[in-house]
Symmetry: C2
Subunit: 353 residues, 2 copies
């Protein structure tokens, strides 16, 4: 994610994510009150919460505050008035995340002890059974890597002339889907070890509703359009076509069915909730907004700029996202007729004997 608080930064362009997190607040609060085994943790004087893929804030602070409020409510409901636990919140993201910015913007009167944890959530980050609630929003759609085959010229899954799996060969889609399945399995395996029995995992993620083809997902259309803009620049000789061939986005929008199957195979979590979120900002509601192309372009730029810069250098960024912004305006009807649904899944760590 783009750090700092400038025009193209993540913190200035994550209001859409915040809208989704707000839409999830009630579900998350209810899930904690209904499903968290707070009495199981009463031997522990500290409740430990982790946000995986927290970026630089402020969304992570709102999400954590909502969770802690719900835990306090749960304690009160259980008559644990005098035993409100202490909270320790772990903010996790890649080592390259701007933790300095995150730390300097921590809310001054927070009710928790805070810590930053650098590293990929596709591996272990915390001691065994040490967490009570894990939260992750807008993160599990990011794969641990671009699938190897997609970048291998000798493979039928080589993704020439595209940066994404939409409108690609079946082999490309399968390679992305397999990478996502592998990553999600590793994610669940690591969390199954780290979350205490009875603890909760809250996942907020964009997904493909069951039975809906990839091509009807607005997020997919948007990333495909970005690839088209890069190919247009290659045709004009601004970037080399070979460089575009070797660039792919490590992103996959899982279907609910796929996710449920992986959770089932893992076996350590029960699914307490799997609900569709209803944000106030939708592609429909954007229709009357002037500069909607620019707004969406800024949003996608905040999320992808780091990857594009690392591969192509920063000289092309402004031109790329200007043309992208115009393309979104021109083809907006495609986006309106498609959709990406956002889900909130609440999983509970089963008690094993």
């Amino acid at each position: 994610m783009k750090s700092g608080d400038g025009l193209h930064s993540y913190s200035s362009n994550s209001y859409f994510q915040r809208d989704i997190i707000n839409a999830a607040n009630q579900i998350v609060g209810e899930a904690i009150v209904e499903s968290l085994d707070i009495l199981k943790f009463s031997h522990s004087t500290t409740i430990r919460v982790a946000d995986l893929g927290c970026s630089v804030g402020p969304n992570t602070f709102f999400a954590m505050e909502n969770i802690l409020e719900a835990i306090e409510l749960k304690c009160q409901n259980q008559g644990l008035h005098s035993q409100i636990p202490e909270f320790q919140v772990f903010f996790n993201d890649h080592t390259s995340n701007d933790f300095n910015s995150l730390f300097s913007s921590l809310p001054p009167n927070r009710r928790y002890h805070s810590a930053g944890v650098p590293g990929s959530f596709y591996s272990r980050l915390f001691p065994n059974h040490s967490l009570h609630i894990v939260h992750s929003s807008f993160s599990i759609q990011w794969l641990s890597r671009v699938p190897k085959k997609v970048e291998d010229r000798s493979s039928p899954a080589w993704n020439k002339g595209r940066i994404y799996y939409l409108s690609a060969a079946d082999e490309v889609v399968e390679a992305y889907s397999a990478q996502c399945a592998e990553d999600t399995a590793r994610f669940l395996q690591a969390r199954a070890q780290e979350i205490a029995d009875g603890g909760l995992m809250i996942l907020i993620f964009p997904a493909r509703p069951d039975g809906i083809p990839h091509s009807q997902l607005s997020a997919n259309i948007l990333f495909d359009m970005l690839g088209c803009c890069l190919m247009d620049m290659a045709k004009k000789g601004i970037v080399s076509e070979e460089k575009v061939d070797m660039f792919n986005l490590p992103l996959y929008f899982i279907s609910v069915q796929e996710l449920e199957a992986i959770i089932e195979r893992n076996g350590c979590f029960s699914i307490e909730k799997m609900e569709i979120l209803h944000p106030t900002i939708t592609s429909q509601s954007l229709i009357s907004t002037p500069h909607k192309g620019q707004a969406i372009s800024f949003h996608i730029r905040a999320a992808t700029e780091g990857l594009i810069k690392a591969h192509f250098g920063d000289a092309i960024l402004d031109q790329l996202f200007d043309s992208y912004s115009r393309k979104i305006e021109d083809e907006y009807s495609l986006i309106v007729s498609s959709k990406t649904l956002h889900y909130c899944a609440v999983l509970k760590r089963k008690t094993m004997n």
Copy 2:
């Protein structure tokens, strides 16, 4: 501390601290083997260690590795071969510390889960009873702030024409001593809450041996010389004298007697060890080194540059430390005839009923 790994960075100029940490390694290892109540923690599958005032590395990584080795040895000695716990290490420093650098230089094959904790160690940083070992080296000599009186023109403790308490009025020395006593009491109070009963606190710090006057401490002489260089620049009109009057270093070298009295008043810790360290680099051993003035100047610059820059701007830095380097060369006999001792204190959290 100066971040990055450039000429004047802390990481390039902290070999003296590393030498002291190395000198402490054996004492720390022995203290853990002799005094850590590992069986008391056997209900916990994780041993939590914190380094307070860790800066950016690599010294903190060496210190943590040494501690974890000793804990493993202790476990083996107690026959807990199959129960070697997991480790979680918390790296703490001010919010303005460069945690991004710290995180990117974490040892790749470390045996612990790591987390960064931003904030002043003069307040609470961790949940109750959550830590088993706290380590802090070269940090507790830094006060939480410059004593108020020292910057108050109407106070008899106003420190005009100096940046430090050496060769200042008694009231200035008393104000520094009182600030240190208050800070150390707060430090111990916070740690008494955070450290589990039977847990250890290892403090490595430069100090004034009992009965030795402030003026015979080489560290004090060095900081006084830095003040003289600033006053020389004021006399030449390079900085305003008023600006020098309003600048003071928040540093105090406590005596062992003062520290022991504060630990006694706190009442929660027993003193297991209080030993003088014997580094290989001493002011005597530097005598034959060419450029010793520059070496010491770089060392002091790495620690103080941030404070000086914030008050005077960065334009004066090179000139100030060049003249400082020459002054150290010229007056090196003063340093050789003085000394600063470094201590390793091992405190144990008492078990309260």
